[in-house]
């Protein structure tokens, strides 16, 4: 119990240093809790989550499975309803934000519709949101370019590799140009080499588009490499254990993973994960 309260203090201090800029809050969670009613009784997935995310930040949620990181992302996206506390996205409730199409969501799996070509898949949100036909074509073209899939527009998903499919799903999430990108372990199912490559591409993309990104992962190097802020979560009940600022230069490449500074941050994250996990198994 003592450790828990001390880590909360650390968190508060770090948060202040991690978000010095503008202060314009894109996401604000306060005392957020969520309890699932299951057949085996209630399961507390989230407990007392306080988290602010400023405009332009790249925030990673990291933790072991069952720590509620995906649930937290789904609450922000209005795919789950919190039982207690509040979430604001640009001062709106998640529901209002969803209805205003304020965010793009990338799932663990590409979730491309198999009967649509890649171009048609990227155009799906545009069709739903009623973009004009010419505008749609232009946005699809740009999206394909952004994720290096030009030339694959008329292929069907099964004709593409897993990495290419996931890239298409990122282009789809960005097609309507939301300011907020929510990504739920988007590269979890990919092999290390593809993942590295996509991490670099995602970083360039973030740099170029200036979006706010919330990124769920269970890979420490991935989190440290991509983020401006790493939120370490611990399970049962899911809560925030530590928040680590992580401000490497924006034009960093994968080589940075060899530097002492990188390993230092990575160690802090690892230590945080270990502490959060220490009570049982």
């Amino acid at each position: 119990m003592a450790r828990k309260s001390s880590s909360t203090k650390v968190k508060g201090a770090d948060q202040a240093s991690a978000t010095p800029i503008s202060g314009e809050k894109v996401i604000a969670c306060e005392g957020l809790s969520l309890t699932f009613e299951t057949a085996d009784g209630p399961v507390q997935a989230l407990s007392g989550i306080d988290l602010d995310i400023a405009k332009g930040e790249f925030v990673s949620l990291i933790g072991p499975s069952g720590c509620g990181k995906t649930t937290l992302l789904r609450v922000i996206a209005d795919l789950e309803q919190p039982t207690d506390g509040s979430v604001r996205i640009n001062s709106m409730t998640p529901n209002e934000a969803r209805l205003k199409r304020a965010y793009g969501y990338v799932f663990q799996a590409p979730a491309l519709y198999p009967w649509r070509t890649i171009a048609k898949n990227i155009a799906l949100p545009l069709e739903i949101m009623g973009f004009a036909k010419e505008d749609r074509a232009e946005r699809v073209r740009k999206g394909l370019e952004l994720v290096n899939l030009t030339g694959f527009e008329n292929k069907f998903p099964w004709q593409l590799s897993g990495g290419m499919q996931q890239r298409a799903s990122i282009a789809r999430a960005l097609s309507f140009d939301p300011d907020l990108l929510l990504m739920d372990e988007p590269f979890g199912a990919l092999d290390e080499i593809v993942r590295d490559k996509l991490n670099e591409q995602l970083l360039r993309l973030w740099e170029k588009t200036q979006k706010t990104v919330v990124f769920v992962t269970h890979s420490i190097p991935e989190a440290v490499f991509l983020s401006t802020k790493i939120v370490v979560m611990s399970p049962r009940p899911g809560k925030i254990h530590d928040v680590i600022a992580c401000n490497f230069p924006k034009d960093r490449t994968l080589d940075i993973r060899e530097t002492p500074e990188f390993l230092d941050v990575a160690n802090r994250v690892r230590q945080g994960l270990r502490e959060g996990h220490s009570y049982v198994d």
Binding site: L79, Y103, A109, A111, Y113, W115
Partner: protein
């Protein structure tokens, strides 16, 4: 040599690599058992025929030959059925009431109309059931119960009631066909409309898509493979429904009428020929649905 080799291999390969040989073997085995069955089943009658004709010193060969060429055998041979089919399909004018082509066209028109009505009803029911929880509870049990009633018992009642309202001709038969064919379509389509996985549904939610958009952009395309599987069952069921209806309403002709007439007069060869013609029609219909299915799934990027 090197030029001839692929060509000659082409012909040989088609026989050895393909399915031709296994298919031929199965057909041959069925044929052999059929002829043996015909000899066995028709032997008693043939002995009686010989006895009545005062012929007592027949040889086994004569007995066998007799069993395979009776006018009203218990089991006609494939050869007899083919001869009957040739007589009634090719040698008879299609306008004649003795032509199976004529009867086939009567059955097919009612079948196709019934299939269209039935699959339309099936789809509408599926959409209702998927979108309204209360209808799922209240409608589905009736849909299932409807199929537990033997169609042979229901058909005459439907025709009599329709007749009361001066609805005759094609429609009553089509309604019975529709009655049989809507069920697989409803069941398959409900399954198909519910087939999108949670991820695909969540995606639509993140776009705050309307119910209509979810329906047309996700549920309908996802349901099509299920729908086509159901339509194949439905089109065959539709033919069965029509034939059953024709047993009651035989004055218009059709395969059912042909079966009925055949059984009145003990014309087993005629019955078997009608059965085979009906099976061929069902095969044609199922194949037609399959062709449409292939076209649609090609459009939808299915793996070849």
């Amino acid at each position: 040599m090197s030029i001839e080799a692929p060509a000659s291999r082409g012909i040989v390969a088609r026989w050895t690599d393909g399915q031709t040989i296994p298919v031929l073997i199965v057909v041959l085995v069925i044929g052999v058992f059929w002829y043996l069955g015909a000899m066995w089943l028709n032997a008693d009658l043939q002995r009686d025929l010989f006895a009545n004709g005062g012929k007592t010193d027949y040889t086994t060969a004569e007995l066998i030959e007799g069993t395979l060429s009776q006018e009203r055998p218990k089991l006609p041979t494939p050869g007899q059925i083919i001869a009957e089919l040739q007589k009634t399909v090719i040698d008879t004018a299609p306008t004649s009431k003795r032509s199976l082509v004529y009867h086939g066209s009567v059955t097919l028109s009612a079948t196709v109309l019934g299939f269209l009505l039935g699959s339309m009803l099936g789809m509408v029911l599926a959409v209702l059931v998927v979108h309204a929880r209360s209808l799922d509870r209240s409608l589905m049990p009736w849909v299932v119960a409807s199929q537990t009633i033997p169609i042979i018992a229901l058909a005459p009642m439907v025709i009599v009631i329709m007749n009361q309202f001066d609805i005759t001709g094609l429609v009553p038969k089509s309604i019975i066909a529709a009655y049989l064919s809507f069920f697989p379509v409803t069941v398959g389509m409900v399954k198909g409309l519910r087939s999108p996985d949670p991820l695909q549904m969540d995606l639509m939610r993140t776009y705050s898509a309307s119910r209509m958009q979810v329906f047309f952009m996700l549920r309908v395309p996802a349901s099509l493979p299920f729908l086509f599987a159901s339509l194949k069952v439905a089109v065959a069921a539709s033919l069965v429904g029509t034939v059953v209806a024709e047993l009651t309403k035989s004055e218009d002709g059709g395969f059912g009428a042909r079966l009925l007439a055949g059984s009145y007069y003990g014309q087993t060869i005629q019955i078997w020929a009608a059965l085979f013609a009906a099976a061929a029609c069902a095969w044609m219909l199922v194949t037609a649905v399959g062709v449409v299915e292939r076209g649609v799934s090609k459009q939808m990027g299915a793996r070849p």
